[in-house]
Every structure is written in structure tokens, then in C-alpha cells.
């Protein structure tokens, strides 16, 4: 088994990402975006992220990326989770880049990956068709048309669906195979309905009516590519959830060490101490799972889907616990918009829901374990 500590390069990247997010994409920025009239992300911050190489962290150097790998990208995702950085990093740098790398033809990779790595082309991954992830094959259909394809159907809960220039869509071919397709923003017959979510990020319902599309790579390999793609997405969402849980916990710990009642800090009360200690232990154990999942992706470990489901399930459960305990231990002020803890709660849930929540992944874990 791989060692569960970061190497020097990964540590440096982690520190750089933590610094970047704290300075350039703090929680205050999310508040400003939420309360402003503009887009759900800040273009200048995204350009700065691209300069840091974040969107291309998974993209190989030959296609203009940095080729840092999944453990490294996971550190960036965690850092973003810690400040609720509202950016296209996940949908573009993780989902979009991985879809192209897993399924794309050489020509598609050569054309599109450099743009993704440079942050110039935003992506979205349109898989789910209802508001809950089910893991079922798509009902959306793809039919050949001329040199390409046309897509008909509906996709829901598409992260960055309203801002992406390139949408990766799963659909079923006339032969009954699940395959991935590329649809350009603004294509004929594509309707985008933005859905305002609790986390103030961009999400959308997409409706396709004979929308022109290009097959991403070979249509016959789509199902396997999609499964691997969702595993990658879930490992990185789990990393973000660890960031959310970790920061929610630290903010809460700081608060109880400050807040006085009965003439002493509430951190001196055993009732509070035991809850905090339990939460700390849960976060550390979830962190181990997420690190194992990320390094498993880098090394192609056996039983990876099962490990990733375990990591997503545990990270989601721990983020729920950390934000629920966080609000409770903040007391009345935890319910106010002025404190950040509620914002962590409002991001933890959508991040967990995307591509399967704790229950979905616990059940998948059981299936993959043979029971």
C-alpha cells in the first residue's frame, strides 16, 4: 500500500493552495458573489487559479497541464473547501479534464485539454437526470446525425451548467450503449434553466431537443469511462468535503474557546469537549480514507471503486456532522448569516449530493463488497 503521507512536492502545493485560497478566494468572496448581481464565480480569481496551474493539475504536461496527479489535486480541492472557494475548478479541472482524458480521442485531447488547463474553456458534466443521483443508465438518447450525433433528453443538478462552454453529456446510443458526448454552449435545441442552490453556486437543469453533439472518443467505451469518471469526481468531492469539515471544526473550536458562560469558556465543559474530540477523530479517520482513495487513483490500486465509495460516504457523513455540530456549538449566532458556519453547512450538503450522497455510496460499497 502507498504511504499515507504527502511527499515534499505535494506538501508545497498544499501550502501554496491553502495560501492562495485564503488570500484570493476567501469566504468573504463567496458572500460578495452571492449578494452581487454578476456570475457565480469571480473571473479574476479564476485567471489567477489558472496561473497557479490549478485547472491543469490533472492534465498531462504534453497537453498543457502540470500533471501533478490526484493526491495533489485533492489538496487543492481541500484548500478550496476550507474557504468555500466558488470557482469552476471542480467542474472544469476535475470533471471536464478527466472526461477528456478518459474518453477523448487523441485529436480531442490535443485540441481541448490545453484550453481546459489554461482555464479558457469551462466545462460541465451532465449525468444525472433527476435531482438525486441513482447510478442508473441514462434515459437521454443520442442518435447519429450527419457526421455527428443529436441528443434528446433532460439533465439535472449540473454543476456549472449555466456557465460552461463545453458540456459533457451521458446518453444512450441506438445500440443501447451508454456513451459520452460533447455539446457546445449555445447549441441549437439546448435550453438552460439555472437553479439557485443553497450554496449560491451555479447549477442548472439542461434540456436537449435534437441538440447537435460530438461523440467523446469511441461510443462503445462510454460506460466504463463514465464509471471511472464518476469515481474520480467523487474522490475529489470527498477531498472538498474534508476541507469543509476541517474548517467548520476549527472555526467551532475557536468559537467555544472564546465564548464565555457562567464566567468560564464553554470549551471547559466536558459536554462540549467530548463532542469536539469525537468530531476531531471522525475527521482524521475520514481524511485517511480520502488520502488512500486519491493515492489509489494515482497508482491504479485494486478495488478502487469500493475505496472511493467508502471515502465519499465517510467524508459526506463527517461534513454533515461537523457542520451540524458547528451550528449547535455556536449556539444562537450559528443560526445567523453573519457567522460563516452556516455557509459551510449550505455547501456541505450540495457537495455531498453531487454524484451520490452518503447513503448512495454506503449502499454501493455494500454491493461492491459482495453483500
Amino acid at each position: 500500500m502507498a504511504t499515507l503521507v504527502l511527499d515534499d512536492e505535494q506538501k508545497m502545493l498544499r501550502e501554496a493552495a491553502m495560501r492562495f485560497m485564503a488570500e484570493k478566494a476567501p469566504v468573504a468572496q463567496l458572500r460578495a458573489l452571492r449578494d452581487g448581481e454578476g456570475e457565480a464565480y469571480d473571473r479574476a480569481t479564476w485567471e489567477a487559479m489558472a496561473e497557479m496551474g490549478f485547472p491543469g493539475a490533472l492534465v498531462p504536461e504534453e497537453h498543457g497541464g502540470a500533471g501533478f496527479g490526484h493526491v495533489a489535486m485533492g489538496q487543492i480541492m481541500e484548500a478550496g473547501g476550507r474557504t468555500l472557494a466558488a470557482s469552476p475548478l471542480f467542474a472544469t479541472g476535475v470533471a471536464g479534464a478527466s472526461a477528456l482524458m478518459l474518453a477523448g480521442s487523441e485529436a480531442q485531447k490535443a485540441e481541448l485539454l490545453p484550453k481546459v488547463a489554461a482555464g479558457e474553456l469551462l466545462c460541465a458534466l451532465a449525468v444525472d437526470e433527476g435531482m438525486r443521483h441513482t447510478g442508473k443508465a441514462p434515459a437521454t438518447t443520442a442518435a447519429p446525425e450527419g457526421d455527428g450525433w443529436k441528443i434528446t433528453g433532460q439533465k439535472a443538478n449540473v454543476a456549472d451548467g449555466g456557465i460552461a462552454g463545453l458540456i459533457v453529456v451521458s446518453a444512450v446510443t441506438p445500440e443501447g450503449a451508454t456513451a459520452l458526448f460533447l455539446v457546445e454552449a449555445g447549441a441549437r435545441g439546448l435550453e438552460v434553466e439555472k437553479v439557485a442552490m443553497a450554496d449560491s453556486r451555479d447549477a442548472a437543469i439542461l434540456r436537449f431537443e435534437g441538440t447537435p453533439a460530438a461523440a467523446l472518443g469511441e461510443t462503445g467505451q462510454g460506460a466504463a469511462a463514465l464509471a471511472s469518471l464518476l469515481d474520480i469526481c467523487n474522490a475529489h468531492l470527498a477531498a472538498e468535503l474534508i476541507g469543509i469539515a476541517g474548517r467548520a471544526f476549527e472555526d467551532t473550536l475557536a468559537y467555544v474557546q472564546e465564548r464565555k458562560q457562567f464566567g468560564v469558556t464553554i470549551a471547559s465543559f466536558q459536554a462540549i469537549q467530548h463532542r469536539a474530540a469525537h468530531l476531531f477523530g471522525e475527521i482524521e479517520q475520514a481524511r485517511s480514507l480520502v488520502l488512500a482513495a486519491l493515492s489509489g487513483l494515482d497508482e491504479g490500486a485494486e478495488g478502487l471503486p469500493r475505496l472511493i465509495s467508502a471515502a465519499k460516504a465517510k467524508a459526506a457523513a463527517v461534513a454533515d456532522l461537523a457542520t451540524n455540530e458547528g451550528v449547535q456549538l455556536h449556539g444562537g449566532v450559528g443560526m445567523t448569516d453573519a457567522f460563516d458556519i452556516g455557509l459551510f453547512m449550505k455547501r456541505a450538503r450540495p457537495a455531498a449530493q453531487l454524484f451520490g450522497d452518503e447513503r448512495y455510496h454506503a449502499a454501493r460499497f455494500a454491493t461492491l463488497s459482495g453483500y
Binding site: Q270, Q273, A286, S288, A363, A366, S369, G370, Y371
Partner: protein, 393 residues
């Protein structure tokens, strides 16, 4: 530097030749565990042979110095030995509180005389040790212990009572916390002393437990004479040594949560008693979910054990992992047995009879309830994490 791969090859060959076939089978009951000691009855000749051969190599205590009967192995070599033993499912040749608890303290603080007297016998499994810590009035508040040791020149005169002394009725020697001073803070008057359980005035009475077994004792000391030379380290500094031993104990107990025999198997094993639906899923959806959550938590725990070791090697880490792991590991083991009993239905609660392995599961389930009490309760561990790791006060 000695090449690790050479060491692995030699170790593999040696184990292949020296580990008897019956010592490569899973431990099925208490009788399969070799505790050693003056009065230990070996279950069979293989068990004795395996202990003697491993002890002759110093591999009952692989990392202890060779001069005291240990193997003198580096941590990396010891890991290779563990891996090679695991490869052939070799049993531990000896389970010993001497090796896991008092030995490390003697190595760290004991006099040369104590080292020479005790360590080789521990390594050879000749002396079985018990731990004299808890008292009726000093459980979680261990430093409040009252067992009195009066200075009588060349010896101490010990009077008092210990409780929950594991296997005191089978042990040869005890490492015992006694009060040598009533001055100042209660932690500053404690001494760690060793004495023979056959010393006049020592009496161990087994306590019958809810599982029906009697692994714990009440241990009484009436005018017990203990040689002053048997004090470990300095008089009145015993609290420091006691905490050090407790850290080792916590690590030993927390390993229970990562028990390899329980790994990955609970859900699949439960198919036998619960059955499967048409899709092959455990035919009780709520139990299936509970088991999946347990297996996920256990995987996280096992990976955290690994991470703690990796971080220790790299010289980093969050520190105080032992309290966290003790808490998490023991709570996991309790949950495991609740789920196992649930999966077996009423059969998991049968107490006697061949069909139910004489109630082995029910008794194991009840035994597990002590996991989060012994070696410091879960609440004590949470307090340690809150105060020492999180700085809450």
C-alpha cells in the same frame, strides 16, 4: 547497512522451516493463545516448540536489545518480520503483558539489575505479568490510588487492594502502582514497583463477569514485603511511567478495532444467517446499511492506524493518536459485535450447546463491552484528546 530484502528472504526461509503447521491456523479460542508463565499449560507440543524457537531468535520481542533476549531488529526489519508472519498466518508465539506493557518501561527507566533479571524471562515467556493499576476508589481517577507502601529500610510494606487486575490469578509477577507519599499533588506520590505474586500476603480472587468468564481479579495485599531494588526508575515518579505504559496498553487495545479477522468480512459473513435477496444483497436492508457504515468506518480506522505509523516514520503527525485510536478502535469493536449478534438473530444469544459453539459469540459480545472501559474509558480518552490535542480548557 543490512539489506532488507536479504533479511526478508532469510526470515521467510526460517519461518517456513520453523513454524509448525498447527501454529499457522487461526486462533479459535482462548486455549490457542500462549501466555507463558510458570504454571502455563501448553495446549500441545507445537505451541511450546513455536515459543521456544521464536524466543531463541529473540523474535518474541523483535526490537528489544539482543543482550536482554530481544531480537535487536530495526523497526523496518520488525515490520518485515510481521509481514512474513502474516504471510503464512503464523500465530503470535507469545501474548505477554511483559512485552506489551511493563517491558518497555523497564527498558526505558529500569536499573541494569532489573533489566537483567526480568527482560530475558519475559522474552522467553517464563514469567507472566499482571498490571496492578485500578482500585475500587481509583478507576478513571487513577492517580487517586491508595494502596500504601511504607518504607521499611531495605523493603516496602504494601497494604491495599487492586481491582480489575487482568489474569492476576494466573500471573507470576505484578507491576504495581503504590502510594509512597501523601505530600503534594496526588500524581507526585506514586511509585512503580515489581513483586512476585507468590509473596506472602498477596491474594487474587477472580471476579465472575457478565460473560460468565473470570479474566479480572480483585487483588489484595496484606503486609506484602517488596524489595526496594524492584522499584522501576525513581520513587514518587511512578505516574510518568504509568502513563507511558498506558500509552502502550492503549495501542494494544486499539488494535482490536483493526482485527484482521474481522476485516471486510462482516457483511459477506452475514449472508449465511440473513440470506440474500434476488440481487444478492443482504436480505435486511437496514442491517445491510448498518454493516456498510460499520465497514466504511472500520476501513477509515485501519487506514488511520497505517497513517499514524507512516507519519511517525516521517517524523510528523497530529500527536496523541493513541487516545484517538483507543477510543475509535474499541467503539468499533463493540459495534462489530452488536452487528454480528443481530445478524445471527437469537442464535447469537445462545449460551450453551455445540450448535452455538457454547455461546462463544454471545460471550465475545459481552466481553467487548469492557473494551471501552479497560485501559481508560472512552470518556477518559475523549478528555485526553480535548485537553492535550485540542487545547480545550
Amino acid at each position: 547497512m543490512f539489506d532488507l530484502e536479504d533479511f526478508r528472504a532469510e526470515t521467510r526461509a526460517w519461518l517456513e522451516e520453523n513454524c509448525p503447521a498447527s501454529m499457522r491456523e487461526p486462533v479459535r479460542s482462548e486455549a490457542d493463545i500462549c501466555w507463558g508463565g510458570r504454571n502455563f499449560e501448553f495446549k500441545n507440543e507445537d505451541q511450546r516448540l513455536w515459543l521456544d524457537r521464536m524466543a531463541a531468535k529473540g523474535w518474541t520481542a523483535p526490537t528489544w536489545p539482543e543482550q536482554y533476549g530481544g531480537g535487536g531488529l530495526s523497526p523496518e526489519q520488525a515490520k518485515v518480520l510481521r509481514e512474513e508472519m502474516a504471510r503464512i498466518n503464523a500465530r503470535e508465539p507469545l501474548k505477554s503483558f511483559g512485552i506489551s506493557m511493563v517491558g518497555p518501561a523497564i527498558i526505558k527507566w529500569g536499573s541494569e539489575e532489573l533489566k537483567q533479571q526480568h527482560l530475558p524471562k519475559i522474552c522467553r515467556g517464563e514469567i507472566r505479568w499482571c498490571q496492578g493499576y485500578s482500585e475500587p476508589g481509583a478507576g478513571s481517577d487513577l492517580a487517586g490510588l491508595q494502596t500504601k507502601a511504607e518504607d521499611k529500610g531495605d523493603h516496602y510494606l504494601i497494604n491495599g487492594q487492586k481491582i480489575w487486575t487482568s489474569y492476576a490469578h494466573k500471573a507470576d509477577w505484578i507491576f504495581c502502582l503504590v502510594r509512597t507519599s501523601w505530600e503534594g499533588k496526588k500524581q507526585e506520590g506514586i511509585t512503580l514497583i515489581l513483586f512476585d505474586m507468590e509473596t506472602p500476603g498477596v491474594e487474587a480472587r477472580p471476579i465472575r463477569l457478565i460473560s460468565g468468564a473470570s479474566v479480572f481479579c480483585e487483588t489484595f495485599f496484606t503486609d506484602v514485603k517488596a524489595d526496594k531494588k524492584q522499584v522501576v526508575g525513581e520513587v514518587n515518579k511512578g505516574w510518568t511511567y504509568a502513563k507511558y505504559i498506558l500509552t502502550h496498553e492503549r495501542e494494544m487495545v486499539s488494535a482490536i478495532g483493526g482485527d484482521a479477522s474481522a476485516v471486510d468480512a462482516l457483511g459477506v459473513q452475514s449472508l449465511d444467517s440473513v440470506g440474500a435477496d434476488e440481487l444478492g444483497r443482504l436480505d435486511d436492508p437496514i442491517l445491510r446499511g448498518d454493516i456498510a457504515r460499520w465497514e466504511i468506518d472500520q476501513l477509515g480506522f485501519r487506514l488511520t492506524l497505517e497513517r499514524a505509523k507512516d507519519e511517525a516514520k516521517a517524523g510528523e503527525g497530529v500527536g496523541h493518536y493513541s487516545a484517538l485510536l483507543k477510543y475509535a478502535g474499541t467503539e468499533l469493536n463493540k459495534r462489530r459485535l452488536e452487528l454480528k449478534v443481530a445478524a445471527e438473530g437469537a442464535g447469537g444469544l445462545a449460551w450453551e450447546g455445540q450448535a452455538w459453539r457454547n455461546g462463544a459469540l454471545a460471550k465475545e459480545w459481552l466481553r467487548s463491552k469492557a473494551n471501552s472501559i479497560e485501559g481508560g474509558t472512552s470518556e477518559v480518552q475523549l478528555g485526553i484528546i480535548a485537553k492535550n490535542v485540542l487545547g480545550m480548557k
